[in-house]
Symmetry: C2
Subunit: 401 residues, 2 copies
Amino acid sequence: MIVTPQRHRFDSPLRLRSGGVLPSFELVYETYGQLNAARDNAVLICHALNASHHVAGQYADERGQPLPKSEGWWHNMVGPGKPVDTRRFFVIGINNVGSCFGSTGPTHVNPATGQPWGADFPVVTVEDWVEAQARLLDALGIERLAAVMGGSLGGMQALSWTLQYPQRVRHAIVIASAPNLTAENIAFNEVARRAIVSDPDFHGGHYLRHGTKPRRGLRIARMIGHITYLSDDVMNSKFGRRLRPLAQALRAGDTEAAERLAYRYTTQDIEFEIESYLRHQGDKFSEYFDANTYLLITRALDYFDPAREFDGDLSAALARAQADFLVVSFSTDWRFAPARSREIVKALLDNRRAVSYAEIDAPHGHDAFLLDDARYHAAVRAYFEHRVGAGLPTPTAGGAA
Amino acid sequence: MIVTPQRHRFDSPLRLRSGGVLPSFELVYETYGQLNAARDNAVLICHALNASHHVAGQYADERGQPLPKSEGWWHNMVGPGKPVDTRRFFVIGINNVGSCFGSTGPTHVNPATGQPWGADFPVVTVEDWVEAQARLLDALGIERLAAVMGGSLGGMQALSWTLQYPQRVRHAIVIASAPNLTAENIAFNEVARRAIVSDPDFHGGHYLRHGTKPRRGLRIARMIGHITYLSDDVMNSKFGRRLRPLAQALRAGDTEAAERLAYRYTTQDIEFEIESYLRHQGDKFSEYFDANTYLLITRALDYFDPAREFDGDLSAALARAQADFLVVSFSTDWRFAPARSREIVKALLDNRRAVSYAEIDAPHGHDAFLLDDARYHAAVRAYFEHRVGAGLPTPTAGGAA
């Protein structure tokens, strides 16, 4: 499935919860499948911290051939014959404002100054993102979504859709998410932000003017994040206490060398395989991600709390929702633990909403929502086939609907 | 109880597991209570990452009055009438080499160069520390310890004592500890180290020569550490999602102001109370702690793994131990989870050692080992009273034994 990003410009201002205003803005998005004549088979996918509009399919080179490793971040979930089947549903991937992947964000030029926004980009919230997404749906002529779906921060957006636009959502699929962050979640975000902000190359957020970027801080931020995405179990089984040179020797088939290997006793160099892995993740991230975007998106996470206006009563907060729900959590996810998903389920049941809940026994921690787990995908597939797709034509085998 | 640190110089070299050598070294220590005539009532306390020889008692000002807030780090555990009762036991607090609290460490002068050791200080291990501690006991004329005791990294030293000097330890008290670090533990240490090493003020570890120190990195390291010392539950109950200005207003009794307070929407300033707390911890730590010491001590944690020479077989590794054991863990400690303590207990039982095990239901996470928990202290008190103290004279009420 070859896909091409599209771009839509909005010339009426977006007034943000923070008091800031984007006088105009652009959203980058992709679509997969066909919008049907009734315009009622649209599924919106919301992204989390580190992702974009590029949910599924592949990009093409100049000759129209698929580019290697250009698959969308949820390509195992969305596509022809996938759990969210693009032969049946018209799926929209959208990049949020504040991001660094194409939609209006802090690396773009602030029209008021002619300079990049940098740290002056206004604080954006989950609610703002949902409002911007709703404007794109208006532009696409979609009055009502068959479903809105997301994992982690994306799940918060899906939940917020049902509260901000209850009439416009038939189903919400909220995966590995939470009704708000715990103190520990905020704490991890804060350490990551401090690593970025205290990097001398951050320059108060105006590093672009200085021709630099706070790579050191971004590396640390990503390393911290990565630890919280994985479970203790999966880290032990993937890396354990394996030494880095040992792992290299084993890969080279040199078992004799491997046996001779001992601790090198170093405080600054890599000793354990897990260190090598984390440094690599940090290095990659620091090259492609924008530091101000990292601050903005972690703050959107921190601020999300629909129960806040209701004295912390989540059931009262969710009373507005009209959608049906699928809520999914993963047993070893300690970032957004199953108990947090159960809070959502309980509050929805208090409001007599139709809720399906799947707690998937998976070893991969928070990352599980992105992985190809048979039981997880079966639960999402069944929900889309029988619930979201009820009343929609079934796909003809092999053909694009 | 007024105490004064003492210092002992060792002129014969300490050959380290890393291959490094300390040609001479000094250990700073404190003692509490009286060594009895049989010299068999000594209890050695081993410290963890952030502590020192100052275990109990208080320091005095020039007039001999106790200095406020000068209590030792385990003063709720050690002292007259405390669970480790200094009327009965002669307790030794000792500062390890590599530390920044007095014993020979990276801020001291390398005799070979006349410059501070800095990053050239050799890598030290738990085993090296235990060997140095044994030399101090030789100097004090103590052949055999009534008990060796420690929490966290201190517990690793207590365990290592029973393997390195099985004849010299009657009892080992291993609290909130583990037989080695998991991949996740190492990962958190590594992120903290990277934050320090990548601080431009680190200068490859020779920051003293540059008249600076990597405060930014130390702050981040401490913030990360602090999150892992606390449980999710205790963070939620102490801080939750409370806003910083709200907390300030409530402390000032201004509930009306508190009710008006809303999100300020900021990416770089403090919004939540937990952020304020973590920043404060990081700031304090960055002033008093040495960065090279942080690297050394976290590496000592990473490297500790007595089962390593036995193909990972902990039971085989602990076969040398002759001591009796009290092992204690805390239910919400996710840094050194109870399951890790149970590994130690199982391996000891495999070797038919006498083991008492207490798994304390406490909300405070890893930090619990430092706190005044009634059930925890009762368990330690009973063990010292009835097991360690068996055969020793009981203290006379109120008097120094």
